[in-house]
Symmetry: C2
Subunit: 343 residues, 2 copies
């Protein structure tokens, strides 16, 4: 297990904190294009698996049967912020299935979107399961369970046929048998598999270009590309790096976060998959690291970088509204990076 210095947090130009990580870029054949740190280290991909877990929803025919639209399919792949638009869509989707919030296995929480959480509290309301960042994924599972006439109870447990089917698909994409690796429980109650970081990049590259997978699986993945590209705000939310990157690149980079410092990106046109882990689990460092890698790969145009500047090197403001520092790729990392722009 070894990491490289990826991201520095500065205060008035002096480095205050440092984030270390490992990352790997793979092509859809599984070959490593670039690597930093120990890419064999075991990681929990967490929510970075969501787009891969949504494949079955389409491939099974459930999505067609219930006429899921782009927004719903994007939401099935999402870690959404719990904005009103996300809450509403989960609620209406559940309603169309004849189900309610009570069927969701995830716990009741406040929205991650601060303004939405504050509005709820000011209105005298509390958190609920719809607000959970995983509620779209759970609604996707319920949709498939209904269609396949599987039990709706305990659909989140490892023993449930739906989770076994999901593990099979993940194992296919990652090209390993996930049952042979340690398994945890995720924040929303679903199984949380582990895999070497390199396998997450390989799975992401196959999601980017599924040409070597079965036809049905490949078609399901293309349908998800279309959904996410057309409804980027449903995969995360307003102001997030993931939604803005997807939107700005018009689907040429499909990024997905996972808890504890995980971030993946699928580049369909180039058939590449990127997976990175910030060792300490930091959310603030992973976006900066991914955008630096994308820039290093030449995957972002100047115009795209201009639009994404707030995520490329975010500024830090203090309580008085003064800019007191920034978060940036470490100077020692990625030689050849266009530092004049990034730093």
């Amino acid at each position: 297990m070894s990491y490289e210095l990826f991201v520095e947090v500065t205060r008035n130009g002096t480095v205050e904190s440092r984030h270390f990580g490992a990352a790997v870029v793979c092509d859809f054949k599984g070959d490593v294009v670039d690597r930093w740190g120990d890419i064999e280290s075991l990681i929990f991909p967490r929510s970075a698996l969501k787009p891969l877990l949504a494949i079955h929803l389409v491939e099974s025919g459930a999505s067609d049967r219930y006429a899921l639209n782009n927004a719903e399919l994007s939401l099935a792949c999402s870690s959404h912020q719990g904005e009103q638009m996300h809450q509403n869509l989960v609620a209406s989707w559940l309603n169309r299935l004849g189900l309610t919030e009570e069927h969701l296995a995830c716990g009741a929480v406040l929205p991650e979107h601060t303004e939405s959480a504050h509005q709820l509290l000011a209105a005298g309301q509390a958190g609920c399961r719809l607000h959970h960042n995983c509620s779209g994924k759970h609604t996707g599972f319920l949709t498939t369970a209904l269609y396949l006439e599987l039990p709706l109870d305990n659909y989140h447990q490892l023993e449930h046929p739906l989770q076994q089917l999901s593990l099979d698909i993940l194992s296919d994409l990652a090209d390993i048998d996930l049952e042979q690796y340690p398994m945890g429980v995720d924040g929303c109650g679903l199984p949380a598999p582990t895999m070497p970081l390199i396998q997450l990049a390989r799975a992401t590259a196959r999601f980017a270009n599924p040409v070597d997978l079965s036809d049905d699986r490949a078609q399901a993945i293309y349908r998800l590309h279309e959904a996410i590209t057309n409804e980027p705000l449903y995969i995360a939310g307003h102001g997030t790096m993931v939604s803005e990157l997807n939107e700005v690149t018009r689907g040429s980079v499909l990024a997905k976060t996972g808890a504890e410092g995980i971030l993946t990106a699928a580049l369909p046109e180039r058939g590449l998959g990127i997976a990175l882990k910030i060792s300490d689990g930091s959310a603030r460092a992973r976006s900066v690291a991914l955008l630096a890698i994308l820039d290093y790969l030449g995957a972002l145009s100047d115009e795209e970088k201009n639009k994404l500047q707030a995520h490329i090197s975010p500024t830090i403001e203090n309580s008085r509204g003064l800019v007191v520092g920034e978060i940036r790729p470490a100077a020692s990392w990625l030689p050849g990076l266009d530092r004049e722009r990034v730093l």
Copy 2:
């Protein structure tokens, strides 16, 4: 700059995230007792300086003039959570000075204490300066400024005589000239000095046993020990490691957090100072690391460790209330640690 692996975050027994850090234990003569990582690395001590910044409040005579009690002096050293008790005491103290919240230079924020923040929002209120974790420190500065008849405007700026006096005292304790080191701006608007980590430990050790400082300075420090020991809830708040550690050890360990992964502890009876920095700035790792060092030093009794168990290796619950992991000292760190208890 080098760090050691201090803390692991696990999920179902498998390590998910890792926090690296540097730490040093010094005696009040300045000699190093124990060390991990690069202890010469430059750090921003941030709020770990607050007890040292409160020395002037007592030493100048301002504290006596305004009859500050233990709770107020503890609050002057605090990063409080903005609970009702903290808000009330800042407000009444300012009122006694003939001042208002408007005199505080820190920005308006919601309390860090989640329940207090939610109560405020539910009551239709917003954040204010009283809630800022630094409002006690700022009220302390205003008290000294009033007593010394210094301008109340811009008391937070580096050029103000109060900040220059504070830097002199910090330089005396840290045994370096802080004006020679980079300076940033803190979250609350005050100057944020830098120093090598070892100097923060030395300053903390001199705060633990000030016998080599001037009599007036030493007496002021003993007064602060008394205040913090008698009012531990005013230096942080309910449920915090800092308040509980101070309370459980009855003042034999006086800990203080700083933003971006900083934590110090003064051990008055042993004349020791500990300073640690988690490289990534994590708050969750610093408490676990400090308690591991204290255990390693034999500074905690079995009874004290029992009472502090929730901070020694905190469990992680998911949204369904299930324990899914824990935060613990890394297995490779601190050989000889009583792991059966800690792990």
